[in-house]
């Protein structure tokens, strides 16, 4: 038999002025199961709470209903009070008779009547409340960072700084990502390598950080605080522990005609290669698509010249399994493919390049040693046209609908650098809008226009046609002058839209995190939780969440690190006990609940059940991971058999409230 205590608060005159609290206490005292019904001036005060505590002890209460202000205000206060008196805190219910009654109604009779009904509903619910205990789930004190660009490096450094072990998984042979390919950074024009490579070295030397280069995540199991991740270490045919990075093999390899992806294919590398001089780890990698030894067993030069004996043609993919408490995704971006934009002649004219290719062309470590030359004939370009928004802000099915955000600024940077280094070169920038929100960004763009005399023209380039004399005819409109222009250019630079890395989509499936239609990871809340994914324990760093420049990426990387550190600092996580649970006897294993769960908290297992006549049957049933479930209840409605229910807001509890209100 339930023994319920009802406590009606006056809240000074806030409630008592429009609700006859005495009458409410009197009426609720007659409800079934209620053994004590009291009113008091301020229930949330010390003495008010003591009233509740004493009543719990004295009357051996099995449930408490407090008629007071909104549960959003004092539910926790009364739960704590109950707990300190030895009553499970989840046996307390609040009837909101202030915000939703006394404050909005003027007529005492109807407000009192409503307060009584709200009290009845709370009593009806508390009859069905069950004691709930918060589960504790241990936290593995190690983080995984997926992606070793500037975002991943920064996150890893911050987490290591806080004293936690952290692993970086990078799919390329070296960490560094896109920033390593960039020449200079806006708006300060300092060299990217000069600020990035010290961080790369720091990461490699930090004993808390383990770098898995040339590796991929192949499987993720578990949940917040306790992920088990399988990392595939791809065969690089070089023993990482032996290779000293001397680079002799990369000079002697006879296979010279391999497009160098680090330089965007603008020059060649060998079949055995180190992507760039400051690579971390500085270890050679053999490209099995080109290596003669691996292809037909004839060559072996690298093995002969390697004094460390690091070359291992028999190496295979290895799998490493590791446990992590937190995972940070930092998979970054890529420029989109421009094969659908025939009008820009990108696919067949070598002098039409993307901005990232221009970075390499201008970089001192690039294919031309830093001298800007046309890729076709290695001559100095005198007229360069930049085209903005190539594939960004497109609604034509060929490009991306979003603004790629970084192009306006890097184009201003490119234009400025070219004008500074080669004052005889005319630079035209065709823009739709110039977007420069950011510290010192607009000043930077204005400098390009005012000091460096870059020709900014509002309008779009419609067609790029290479001519027989090697020049390029750029046909465009100047909307402000109302003219159709033809520019006789030497080079055209396309600001290609950026898109999330292709590895992100399968990764999101493994992590059960959500993505938007553009394959950017979705943050848990667009304003208030920008670096967390909706899946607990998974954080987002850098451009995998949306287009970002370097300062923003680093800021977000550190924010993600802070969130991960916050999680790793805990020995265990206290889970909200108001989570879903599945009644195995009712469950059909139909997977409807799994489909609507935003957190991937539901898994299935085959379980053996006793059937009539001493037989058994194996059935697939759902089970909810209480550490992952956030208690939204979407699954409870998707479940046709009613097997899925929600603690604290169960079907029967809500139904009882409905009945009490409609009675």
């Amino acid at each position: 038999m339930q023994r319920i205590g009802v406590f009606v608060c006056h809240c000074g005159t806030n409630i008592a002025a429009t609700v006859d609290v005495k009458a409410v206490a009197e009426a609720l005292g007659h409800e079934a199961g209620v053994v004590i019904s009291q009113d008091y001036q301020y229930m949330c005060s010390e003495s008010g709470q003591n009233l509740v505590k004493n009543a719990i002890k004295e009357h051996k209460l099995t449930g408490v209903v407090v008629c007071s202000c909104s549960p959003r205000m004092h539910e926790n206060t009364f739960r704590k009070a109950a707990a300190s008196a030895g009553l499970n805190p989840y046996l307390v219910e609040i009837a909101n008779i202030r915000e939703q009654c006394s404050w909005i109604h003027k007529d005492i009779a109807s407000a009192t009547e409503k307060a009584i009904i709200l009290g009845r509903a709370a009593i009806a619910k508390v009859h069905l409340n069950t004691p709930l205990t918060s589960m504790e789930s241990p936290v593995v004190k190690r983080a995984l960072v997926i992606g070793g660009g500037i975002a991943g490096i920064q996150t890893a450094l911050d987490i290591a700084e806080a004293g936690f072990e952290v692993d970086i998984v990078e799919k390329e042979p070296t960490i560094g990502g896109k920033m390593a390919q960039i020449d200079k950074t806006f708006p300060t024009l300092d060299c990217a390598a000069c600020i990035l490579t010290p961080k790369m070295v720091e990461a490699s030397q930090n004993e808390k950080i383990t770098i898995h280069s040339f590796s991929e995540v192949s499987d993720v199991k578990g949940f917040v605080g306790n992920f088990t991740v399988t990392i595939k270490k791809k065969a690089r045919y070089v023993d990482e522990t032996k290779c000293t990075g001397c680079g002799l093999c990369t000079e002697k390899c006879p296979m010279k005609k391999v497009p160098n992806e680090f330089n965007m294919g603008l020059d060649n590398r060998r079949a055995v290669y180190i992507p760039f001089a400051q690579a971390v780890p500085k270890v050679a990698t053999i490209d099995p698509n080109y290596c003669m030894m691996l292809k037909n067993g004839k060559c072996g030069v690298c093995s002969k010249v390697c004094s460390a004996g690091a070359i291992d043609y028999k190496q295979t993919d290895r799998f490493v399994e590791q446990k992590y408490g937190a995972i940070v995704v930092a998979t970054g971006f890529n420029p989109i493919k421009l094969d659908k934009y025939d009008e820009f002649a990108y696919s067949y004219c070598p002098d039409v390049v993307t901005s990232l290719e221009l970075e390499r062309l201008m970089n001192a470590a690039g294919p031309n040693g830093g001298t800007l030359l046309r890729p076709s004939d290695k001559t100095h370009p005198h007229t360069i046209v930049f085209v903005q928004c190539v594939g960004s802000r497109c609604d034509d099915g060929k490009g991306k609908q979003y603004c790629s955000k970084i192009c306006c600024m890097y184009t201003a940077k490119h234009a400025m650098l070219i004008r500074e280094k080669y004052p005889d070169t005319e630079v035209y920038v065709f823009y739709i809008d110039v977007r420069t929100p950011g510290k010192n960004f607009d000043e930077f763009y204005r400098r390009a226009v005012e000091q460096y005399n870059v020709h900014y023209i509002k309008g779009m380039v419609g067609k790029v046609s290479p001519k027989a004399d090697g020049k390029i005819d750029v046909q465009a409109s100047d909307l402000l002058a109302g003219e159709q222009l033809h520019i006789n250019a030497d080079m055209v630079v396309l600001a290609a839209a950026i898109e999330p890395d292709k590895t992100a989509r399968p990764l999101a499936t493994m992590l059960t995190t959500q993505m938007d239609t553009n394959d950017f990871f979705t943050e848990a809340h667009p304003k208030l939780r920008p670096v967390e994914s909706a899946t607990a324990g998974i954080f987002l760093s850098g451009a995998c969440q949306g287009p970002k420049d370097i300062p923003e990426t680093v800021a977000q990387a550190s924010a993600a690190a802070a969130k991960a550190i916050g999680l790793l600092c805990k020995n265990s996580i206290t889970c909200n006990p108001c989570v879903a649970h599945s009644d195995e006897l009712m469950c059909n294993g139909c997977s409807a609940c799994e489909k609507v769960c935003p957190y991937g908290a539901i898994t299935y297992q085959d379980k053996e059940f006793r059937m009539p006549n001493r037989t058994t049957a194996v059935r697939r049933v759902a089970s909810v991971n209480p550490a992952v479930c956030q208690g939204c209840g979407a699954c409870t409605v998707a479940c046709p058999s009613g097997a899925m229910d929600l603690n604290g807001f169960s079907n029967s509890q809500i139904m009882a409230e409905v009945d009490a209100i409609c009675k």
Binding site: S70, E99, I104, I117, A534, P598, V637, A638, N651, I654
Partner: protein, 146 residues
């Protein structure tokens, strides 16, 4: 149509804890009056509202049922209200198909900042139901107080 002034409709409002319930609290904080017929049931998310609850309310004598949730895209649980929208659209369509008056059911998006909207939505909903009169088509006569 004759409007019975003495008829006090019973209105059940399911409010999502994160948006609409907070919006209801805000309308209280701002002392924005709406009819006392509205009784709110707190749910963690609008997607917790099972069609069974709605039918149960009608069965037990409710004259109108309204569900309030976060605006699409603002769900605390990222996608709950999108499921709500489909489920409730289909359910309301079915109730309409069975000949239940359309204005007895409603779904509204009310954010935690929209106290005024909450009050005006309730005001309007109650007056719509008031005009319809008691729920005769969908009630369980046994449960009705005489």
């Amino acid at each position: 149509m004759q409007v019975n002034e003495n008829f006090k409709p019973v209105i059940v409002a399911f409010c999502c804890n994160w948006c609409s319930y907070a919006g209801a609290d805000l309308s209280g904080t701002n002392r924005l009056n709406y009819p006392a017929n509205v009784k709110i049931i707190r749910v963690p998310c609008s997607c917790r509202v099972n069609p069974m609850f709605i039918l149960r309310a009608f069965q037990k004598g409710a004259d109108g049922v309204i569900i309030c949730g976060c605006h699409p895209g603002d769900c605390h649980y990222t996608s709950g209200n999108y499921f709500t929208r489909r489920r409730i659209t289909l359910l309301y369509s079915m109730l309409d198909f069975l000949g239940i008056e359309r204005k007895r059911t409603r779904l509204e998006w009310v954010s935690a900042a929209e106290g005024a909207k909450f009050a005006s939505v309730m005001e309007q909903f109650v007056s719509d139901v008031q005009k319809l009169g008691p729920n005769r088509r969908l009630e369980d006569l046994r449960c009705r107080k005489q």
